[in-house]
Symmetry: C2
Subunit: 198 residues, 2 copies
């Protein structure tokens, strides 16, 4: 079976529509997904950036928000601009990584829906805990596992794997043969590549 | 008839595939195009950038070139990476603006084909002159008109109009009601918007 790595950052705007549609599109093409949360913060800081370009460059930021409104409207997804933006995503990323792989997609979608659909603070333990409760997880045990030093190191290692694969933004998609695609609008091409359609 | 402003920069990589496909897509939807060359250099410098992010950020640049290879291969367009990159685009932009509007699309496509299809230097008067000759224009008269102070001012004014419309990258598309779309991969959405499909 073809596989595709889905690299996402919980603070990333375009990772939201990607996370909401990737499973259906992958299933249609028979592609198995690996859901791989990582952090963009360390990558941006290594480039000398102290903030996202969407904040640093006002014209770019304004058009990104408008574009995201259009994309979510077309997809029938609720949309609210998070405040503050970007949200602190470390807790969500650690928690996603601490889950079994099978539980990660539903948790990931629930976090994006809370953040970009309802405007909730995803750095809030109460918000993340309520998402776990809603999915039938043991919130306390999961959050404790998320904050263990072993799991923190695992997230750092994941981010390094992303960098080594050439990832510099989110969402990104990497095929088994190492082909990297960046951006929600490259998802179909990445899935085509994974199935051998070039 | 619906209209769409097509803002392009001759040094811009993704403006190449956009320029090569926009006329067909616009005709299919009955959208009239305004071909509007402008310069990204002054916009980047105003942001404090001394170079394109594709050079400043190696991982981003490497994936852009790979992505452009994939896009041009899928579209059946020849592709050669220009050297140096970015090309100096002022001469081509001034010349495009000096032409009648009706002559601008064919000239624009010929410049992109020379630059990204054949690896030619578009800052070279000989290259631009040969393109005019191939299109049946009076090369000398056109280049003289391009380099007039009136035409130079006109290009500066065009670039300011782009900035005022919110443009920060190329290609960009702006509808009659002021909706801005950035990037070759937003072309279909921009045309849909122009025809009232939201």
């Amino acid at each position: 079976m073809s596989t595709l790595d889905f690299w996402y950052e919980f603070a990333s705007t375009y990772s939201y529509p990607a996370a909401m549609r990737i499973e259906r599109l992958a299933a249609e093409r028979g592609v198995a997904l690996r859901w791989r949360p990582f952090l963009l913060g360390p990558i941006f800081r290594a480039q000398g950036w102290s903030d996202t370009p969407f904040n640093a460059l006002p014209a770019k930021g304004a058009n990104m928000w408008r574009d995201l409104e259009r994309i979510t409207a077309r997809a029938g997804l609720p949309f609210r601009r998070p405040d503050p933006f970007p949200q602190h995503s470390v807790l969500a990323a650690r928690t996603a990584l601490a889950l079994d792989e099978a539980a990660r997609p539903a948790f990931t979608r629930a976090v994006y829906a809370a953040e970009f659909g309802e405007g909730k603070q995803i750095s809030d333990h109460g918000v993340i805990g309520a998402i776990h409760a809603g999915l039938g997880h043991d919130s306390e045990a999961t959050l404790a596992r998320a904050e263990s030093s072993e799991n923190k190191d695992r997230l750092k290692a994941q981010t390094q794997i992303a960098v080594d694969a050439g990832v510099y933004g989110a969402p990104s998609f990497v095929t088994a043969d190492g082909e990297l695609f960046w951006g929600n609008d490259r998802l179909e091409q990445a899935l085509d590549w994974a199935t051998g359609r070039r």
